[in-house]
Subunit: 410 residues, 4 copies
């Protein structure tokens, strides 16, 4: 068996088992709940990532493959029009059957089939399927982050505010948000000019990161770290949610319609007598805890991020400015803390070509009405992102591990 | 210990254990799902009926009683304004915590506390609490029916169409609907005149069945049995869902807006070539099965029932006509098969007085915008109903075990 | 020409011209606006009432009749399924064409055709068409009231709060509501027993008032007058809109969802320092004026009326109690002031038969989900109502000239 | 009086009178109607453009200026948060008062005040106010286009399908869409490279066109003309509205939800027997007329434009590619025919600074969730646009004079 095959199996086993590890603290009921249309139940994530391997890999490439269950392709297709009709997204929380046990059995069945398929594959087949397996693993890693964002949202709807995990004895970078340190922001000078943007080299990247191309940038300054909860609390204390001049029009409409006064997971401390602008509680994977002023502020919408930047006398970076500063001396928290909203709409790169075959629907068809986020969060699986990685969400999305880093013109 | 106390304990044990029996075929996930705002998860029904005893009985009458969990009164209050704020109805499906195990523990704790309270009660206390315990048991029986209606709706949203229970070897009156026999309808003459309506005598009744009072009726004829699926299939085959003159205006608006062509749980047989008007599949507690033409048609809205009656050249009975025919010679299926929509709006009886105390909210505040159903269904616990029993739902409700019996003027 | 023909023509001219009189103070733009789906533009009312004569009378009975415009039957049908498809109700405000002038020309064309048809009709034809003309006139009178209710609603949506008519020098019974006098309520004893309900005799009545029939009533007391704005202001001052125990469940849900604190057309006086519970401004046909504490309270929903009655330690009358008290000695304001919500759902009378032909849709198909109002308001054309007259609206309707009269049990 | 003052007055008179010219064919009722929240009544456009001069110019700069009517600032502010509260957008169609006559009087009052103010202004004042007057005129020109787009939408909601203007004897470029000629598309080569984008020079431009900056482009080919109705009909005939692979995800969701099968103003010819893919009727300012296959296709959403491009094996240009091709030899219809959707999200240019003062809200706060259109349509006032002009609408907007021009990679 070739090194490539071995390596593929190793990666497959590692990624697949990490999904189960993430689900482990959750009861069958927890894994069933769907708290809004945009979020999915844990159980569905576990099944859908499995369906991806079954439909895109085994069904298409493994001769004689038989579906585990003929109903599953319909139940667990997310949005692939080319792969047939599918169950309505908003109804995922009602799929009490298959049970969690059945979904686990489905995973085992597919795991064995994939590993066996790799075992048996000749060199030519391996060449053909290795990119599909790799795509499936990166796809699963994306859903690993969604398992955490979505269960956090579900738990936030429960008045008991359950914690996904026990409070850790040692404060860690990955508590309610990653800690950004107490240092004031330093502004790092970036010269601009022609910069090379997008994925280069041989490793895996999604189609939306290509082709790499040159972009002209003006000089700018970028904050050496992300904004903290303490920074953001000052924005709130200064009337941030009641000053329309700070907001984009659509964002202000939401603030008014939904009477927003703070981020989605922030709660006023019960001790309402206090005037302390820092007396917030923040809900996170550890449950409801006093705000850590040095943690990265997270779960912001693009509108909130942009209003905060306006208030701070700065602005959001374009995705190109962000990428060009990735390796800037002194820069911190570019990944592993929070996704960072950019001022760039999620448009195709010049010369963009979707992946061939059914994976064509993976990224391209979503390229309108969304904003690019860069970086990676405490919920992103280790090794999943790159400097050229383009995450994207609609500007109103508030339940992601999404924060903000400032830039300013010179 | 008095006979009354013994009897109360016996009834309490029997009713309480039957709820668990109903939940027994359901996984923790099944018991978690809420398929629409009008329906509730099984787990919530199990907890809410327990909360009723805790809040209305123990907390108010048992000295020194301590809540099982201080959060539960908020989570499991349904609609009692006088009993404080409560969790939003539409979000019941998101209460993955407490877990089912915790709800079972809650039930055991309350069961023991109630039984112990009855044990210790002196005669005067017993007089005081016996009506509350009895009310709580009838309340729980109502939720026992809802456990079945609501899980059936949840399962109907699952493309797998799971069955609540295995298909029974022997066809029983309680298959997908109760069988109405193959006999053509016989019209039973009823003379009308002054009839006594409402609950009389000593047994338990809800406040909405009182006061008993006289009503003047014209002579009429009533069908000896409920309408069957076969009867209703003929209505469909004759264009029932495309003829506005058969429908009340609000009903026709729904037919058009939702493009209705059959009852909620009816599906066209896969064999679409057939012209057989009876080739339907009907979803029920046994899963999706071929329509039994002799079974009572069920899961009709008031609008469907009224349109069917119009098509049949008959009409729906008033609740008074229905009650006055309860013991008519030759009449069948007055209870234990389907609830029967009446043409009577759910208005208070002359001189109506709500129950005292917190139970005042039990019935009276819902007396507008709903229609009365009489009878009792295959899902109604044995012994729960009476001839004077008034069930009620909004006219558009389609997920109950609700059918139709015809009357006609002379 | 017969006396009947003469009389019919006289009535026709009188009713038809009164519609134009009502429209006279309104600009073409005023007559165009539709402020909500439930309300219609004045211009539409003027055209629709004309369409009724054209379609139900001329087109069906006048040989060789030619439509004024082939598009109008589609545009101006309200809800008659048997008379073909129709323009969407919510879009009536967009019919800027035909212009008002064209609608006036339409009216003249139909008026001449109807009068000529009556002129030429032989005795047999006259027998046939007289009931249709009469129905058309009563229909038009209903729309005359709606012209006022609907324009009042449209004006209430305009921050300028225009007045439909100038303030009258002499306060009249028909100012913002009719004056109910300063006298405290006297409770008039009514013995109950078997009473005859519904329309008897030869004059015109709608099908929903028949057949007349006997109803058994308990003894009761009825208020000699309707509730006043002053009465209602006391209810508000006593926390009426913040006490759920006073409200029906659906009504309380609306109070909370829409944050209601007063009737639709009441505004807090600008002088907010005052503690005077009577310092309200009320919008009416004369514009925004200080509340007259002795005027009948109007524009209440059923929910508001019922909550007020609950607060007052009384209740709403059934429609039978109301009708049986119509001629009670000492009773006032039974008509010509405000419609009076009853506690009766709008159900068919025993033996109800809809009108024959296309008029079958006039009343019967609306007999669910609505409540009966009795009486007649300042906006009701003189001579339009009877003691047996049954008006009806959904319980949430707040824009009608609808008030409340109390009864209580003995 | 200076040349500048004279020129300002001339421009003011010309633009202001053109608005009235556009409104001239419309009745007071036509000018009242608001067919959807996104559209406004003609009367409102006439008043709002007047309000702009009153509030931004006169009230702020003309000493002692008195409002024409103290209520108008509230009624006719569109979206300027800094200029105080405002009437709800969706309710503009209910402002039957002020009447059209009053709005005309308002226009005359402001016109006189502005002209007199310019007359009296000293050189320093003139320097200060000239940019404001100019901005107000360009603002009014934008609303002149909206007067046409919005009345066309209102008329499209009327089953009578009235024509804004009589059919013209001579087919003109500005009939239902501008004619694109029968010539097949020629692909014009563009070399790309570094191009200068944005407004340079001295004339007026909006803030969103600045700063001018360099952009790197790849080589591309651009169609010499816009797509025609005939081109688009071929897309429809080839199943364009039923092939998800051609659509962006959000666009396909709309196609399915709203069951779209053609552009908003296209209607199948009554002669349904025909197989002719060109047998369409298209609603436009001249009413409903047979599709002209050589006219530019118009009233497309971005989603429709992008799906058409995908089907055609091409793509939409970026706004930079479009601008860089403005003067390409052989290129036609770059303005005066249809707005042309670009593939560029409406993001700020590098170094973008909003206008100072209240005009800061003019463009910047809308820079998210919209797409850029370039060019100018038959409804755009002559002289209003520039090569650098950036129009913008949300991707779902279907009621603008918006079409498509293709580009393709090399």
């Amino acid at each position: 068996m070739s090194h490539i095959a071995h390596e593929l199996q190793r990666a497959f086993r590692e990624v697949r088992s990490y999904s189960l590890e993430l689900a482990e603290p959750l009861s069958p009921e927890d894994q069933q709940a769907q708290s809004m249309t945009d979020a999915s139940p844990t159980k569905w994530h576990l099944a859908h990532t499995t369906w991806f391997f079954e439909t895109v890999l085994l069904q298409r490439h493994s001769p004689g493959y038989r579906y585990f269950n003929d109903d599953y392709p319909f139940l667990f297709n997310s949005y692939y029009e080319a792969l047939g009709p599918r169950h309505e997204r908003a109804q995922r929380g009602l799929l009490t059957r298959p049970t969690l046990e059945e979904v686990y059995a489905y995973r085992r069945y597919i795991d064995e089939a994939v590993l066996a398929f790799i075992d048996m594959a000749d060199a030519q087949t391996l060449d053909q399927i290795a990119p599909i397996v790799t795509l499936g693993l990166h796809h699963e890693q994306q859903h690993q982050e969604l398992i955490l964002t979505d269960i956090l949202h579900a738990f936030s709807c429960n008045p008991l505010m359950p914690a996904y995990r026990r409070v850790q004895a040692q404060p860690s970078p990955a508590s309610s948000g990653a800690r950004a340190g107490a240092k004031p922001i330093e502004w790092l000078y970036r010269p601009g000019g022609i910069v090379e943007i997008g994925h280069r080299g041989r490793g895996f990247a999604f189609d939306n990161e290509a082709p790499s191309h040159e972009v002209l940038l003006r000089p700018y300054e970028i904050a050496h770290r992300a904004a903290t909860c303490g920074d953001y609390a000052a924005f709130i204390a200064d009337g941030g949610y009641s000053r329309p001049e700070l907001w984009l029009s659509d964002g202000w409409a939401i603030v008014q319609r939904e009477r927003l006064e703070q981020p989605l997971y922030w709660h006023r401390s019960a001790d309402r007598c206090t005037d302390d602008p820092l007396s917030w509680l923040v809900f996170g994977l550890d449950g409801l805890r006093p705000m850590d002023p040095h943690a990265c502020v997270s779960q912001l919408s693009f509108y909130e991020a942009a209003a905060y930047a306006q208030w701070a006398g700065a602005r959001l970076p374009t995705e190109f400015e962000w990428e060009a500063a990735f390796d800037a001396p002194g820069i911190e928290q570019m990944t592993g803390h929070v996704w960072q909203w950019t001022r760039s709409s999620y448009d195709p790169y010049p010369g963009f070509r979707p992946l061939p075959g059914v994976a064509a629907e993976y990224n391209g068809k979503f390229m309108v009405g969304q904003l690019v986020l860069r970086g990676g969060s405490i919920a992103t699986p280790r090794g999943h992102t790159r400097p050229s990685y383009r995450n994207f969400f609609p500007p109103a999305a508030r339940w992601q591990f999404s924060g903000v880093r400032l830039v300013r013109d010179i």
